[in-house]
Amino acid sequence: MTRHPSTVLVWFGVLGGAVAWAAQFVAGLAFTFAQCNAPPGRWDLPVQRWQSGLAIAGIVVGLASIAVCVRLYRQTRDVDHAAETERLGKGTPPPVGRINFLATTGLLVNVLALSIMIMTAIGAPFLRLCQQA
């Protein structure tokens, strides 16, 4: 493989979904705490709409980074990792093996982050608003 993807792109591929999950998790949680742990009527937030919205936004990001990972993975699928050590020295481009490694792992991260976000997005609307568990 000749052209080398930018570090930023690679790490977006690896972490995009995870970061998206973390964001929708924290924000959505804050909404439920604000609405459901407060004395009645202190705030009136459309919690479930926000939950779904956040989750969907996260899902979009997750899909994007999956796309990146797939592309990187295809680019780097067949390389002999050991062979390239020889040209490992200061300033040489990142070894393809590492990009391939990160892309593979990125796929898993994103799939799992996605499935959590999808479960929340599907689950939340079915539940009664602020029903005590």
């Binding site: 439920t32 459901c36 050991a82 539940l127 029903q131």
Partner: protein, 632 residues
């Protein structure tokens, strides 16, 4: 590897010896900055605490061996089960894995000569020792923490627990947290910066991935615990109201803060076990790990997702279902990284040619118990079922299979596995196998009936129970099992202790795949005469590379024998970047730790000005620390 070395090579290694050998004797150990010596000190300290925690466990089981037991008074029972939890988690498993195994092995596995910050490394040990003694001082004085290891308020508030039992808990955990934070920073930087040239991320041993994950999890989880404990002490000692519902506080704030730490904690405990398993399996299965990248990632991912599941410890407190749905989803999905590793291990073992020696047996035991604990974990991620068995013995069964069965078994296996590396001698194989079967049976007999007792409705933390509940027989069986388990553990320690003096001095009876096996056993103070170059995650199996290292030693290449130095490389691809001079022995870390111990002791006694005095002293020791700073 005891290869015969030429006079030329001998001369080089002698130079390195001169540069790296530390003071002998007690003073040498007090002032050491050698990661191996620190690891060994960690090992024996945590082993002692393990003994204490084990005695506490036996006391608990003896109290519950029959209904209306009178071995312990209610007060004593509360203190004992609280100290059992604190000891096993904060004073045994974490320091044993990160402190002992991590410290000793990480630099060896990545081909470095020490940790990135050797003096901080010593400091974290001495602080750990101080915090452990601090908490046990409370037990010796007869007022140990007594509100359970998760110490729920308001039970732990001044109003309902007026003694200073809980203050030892609050300050002790902050104190202990300082040590763990320093250690985790040290691990991350070491793994980022000191990897041998060529060891790019995709070639890092899985053991190191596990410890990297642990270090990050500790780094981000501990602040939450410190804040919780800080609030607790402000409430208790200065009359603040964070947790006091009557003044607008929230008792559940403690639970949230504690479990934001407490659940990542569970993975912090289990991850090193994964790491140890992934280094033992290839050595005995003579085969590379199946699906290396996914296993590596699964280790990191467990630690990451672990931050999103804490409310599954709080499904019964009355949060809204809109809140719990996040945690239910995350708690179920976090199963998958574990499942990936599980089946990667099984696939590796089943497609390889396993040689069932003692260390591998312990890993098999680990796999079996991790499956049991994992499956019972899935059942309590089902909220309604958790709402039935929460705080019952079912939960005790679940987390003992995870924490003892899954986290401690690899530690025991690892003790056997690296014993030849650390001591240069070999343990007694048959005794090892016997000790495994004893421990394995003991664990099952002790903890499995707890599932049933829990289903039969026995709540945890009861100092006694009535005879007519259908719990009696099962509790009796559990107690018998616990004695069996104790026997097994004693046999392990005895085996290693005797082998240390009597064991045959031969090369390890197995072929590890990572770099620690590239050096002699026990390793020289400088770890590696020649800084190795790495081309795969299994450097020991790249024979020609290791052969090249020996040739380079003959030619005197890559020795760094001019000064007390180790190479630093780039973070992602481990390209050689600079040569660092490492600090050697220093008296300051233990002194700093001593000052800190003074600070916390005075805080418990509420002598705030004296505490401040000790803090100033601690600051001054840090100045002394930087007297000679030619080190980078």
């Amino acid at each position: 590897m005891a290869t015969t070395v030429s006079p030329r090579a001998k001369q080089y290694t002698d130079e390195l010896d001169r540069l790296w050998t530390e003071r002998p004797g007690v003073l040498g150990w007090l002032t050491t900055t050698d990661h191996k010596r620190i690891g060994i000190m960690y090992f024996f300290t945590t082993l002692a605490f393990f003994g204490a925690g084990g005695v506490e466990a036996l006391l608990i089981r003896s109290q519950l061996i029959g209904p209306n037991g009178h071995v312990l008074s209610p007060q004593a029972y509360d203190e004992v089960f609280t100290m059992h939890g604190i000891t096993m988690i904060f004073l045994f498993v974490i320091p044993m894995t990160t402190g002992a195994f991590g410290n000793y092995l990480i630099p060896l596995m990545i081909g470095a000569r020490d940790m990135a910050f050797p003096r901080l490394n010593a400091l974290s040990f001495w602080i750990f020792l101080g915090s452990g003694l601090f908490m046990y001082a409370a037990l010796l004085q007869g007022h140990a923490p007594n509100a359970g290891w998760f110490d729920y308020v308001p039970l732990a508030s001044k109003q309902f627990d007026p003694g200073n039992n809980i203050d030892y808990y609050g300050y002790g955990l902050i104190f202990n947290g300082i040590s763990s934070t320093i250690a985790s920073i040290n691990f991350i930087v070491t793994i980022f910066k000191l990897r041998a040239p060529g060891m790019s991320l995709n070639r890092m041993p899985l053991f190191c991935f596990a410890f990297l994950a642990v270090a990050f999890a500790l780094l981000f989880a501990l602040p939450s615990l410190s804040v919780a404990a800080l609030f607790l002490e402000l409430d208790r000692q200065l009359g603040f109201h964070f947790y006091d519902a009557a003044f607008g506080g929230a008792p559940l704030l403690w639970q949230n803060l504690f479990w934001i730490f407490g659940h990542p904690e569970v993975y912090i405990i289990i991850l090193p076990a994964f790491g140890i398993a992934t280094s033992i399996i290839p050595a005995f299965v003579h085969r590379r790990m199946v699906f290396f990248p996914l296993v590596a990632l699964a280790e990191i991912l467990v630690a990451f997702l672990g931050f999103g599941v804490w409310v599954h410890h709080m499904f019964t407190v009355g949060f809204s279902t809109l809140t719990t749905v996040y945690f239910a989803a995350a708690s179920l999905i976090i199963v998958i990284p574990s499942a990936i590793q599980l089946f990667a291990w099984i696939a590796t073992i089943v497609t390889g040619t396993p040689d069932f020696q003692t260390p591998l047996l312990f890993i098999i035991g680990f796999i079996v118990y991790f499956i049991i604990g994992g499956l019972s974990g899935i059942t309590v991620a089902a909220i309604p079922f958790d709402q039935q068995v929460h705080d019952s013995y079912y939960i005790i069964a679940h987390f003992h299979f995870v924490i003892f069965g899954a986290a401690v078994f690899p530690i025991l296996g690892g003790m056997y596995f690296w014993f030849p590396k650390v001591t240069g001698r070999v343990y007694h194989e048959l005794t090892g196998k016997v000790s495994f079967w004893l421990t394995f049976a003991g664990t099952f007999i002790t903890f499995f009936p707890m599932h049933i007792v829990g289903i039969l409705g026995m709540p945890r933390r009861n100092y006694t129970y009535p005879p007519d509940m259908g719990w009696t027989l099962l509790n009796f069986i559990e107690s018998i099992g616990s004695y069996l388990l104790a026997a097994g553990l004693i046999l392990i320690v005895a085996n290693l202790a005797i082998s240390y003096f009597r064991g045959p001095r031969t090369d390890p009876p197995f072929e590890g795949d990572t770099l620690e096996w590239a050096t002699s056993s026990p390793p020289p103070p400088y770890n590696f005469a020649v800084i190795p170059t790495v081309r795969s995650p299994y450097p020991m199996w790249d024979k020609e590379d290791r052969e090249r290292d020996n040739q380079r030693l003959e030619r005197g290449e890559g020795l760094l024998n001019l000064e007390h130095a180790t190479p630093a490389t780039t973070v992602q691809d481990a390209q050689l970047d600079e040569i660092l001079s490492m600090p050697s022995h220093s008296p300051w870390p233990p002194l700093t730790a001593l000052a800190l111990t003074g600070v916390f002791a005075m805080l418990v006694m509420q002598h705030y000005w004296i505490a401040f005095g000790f803090l100033v002293v601690g600051g001054l020791t840090l100045l002394g620390w930087h007297q000679n700073e030619e080190q980078a």
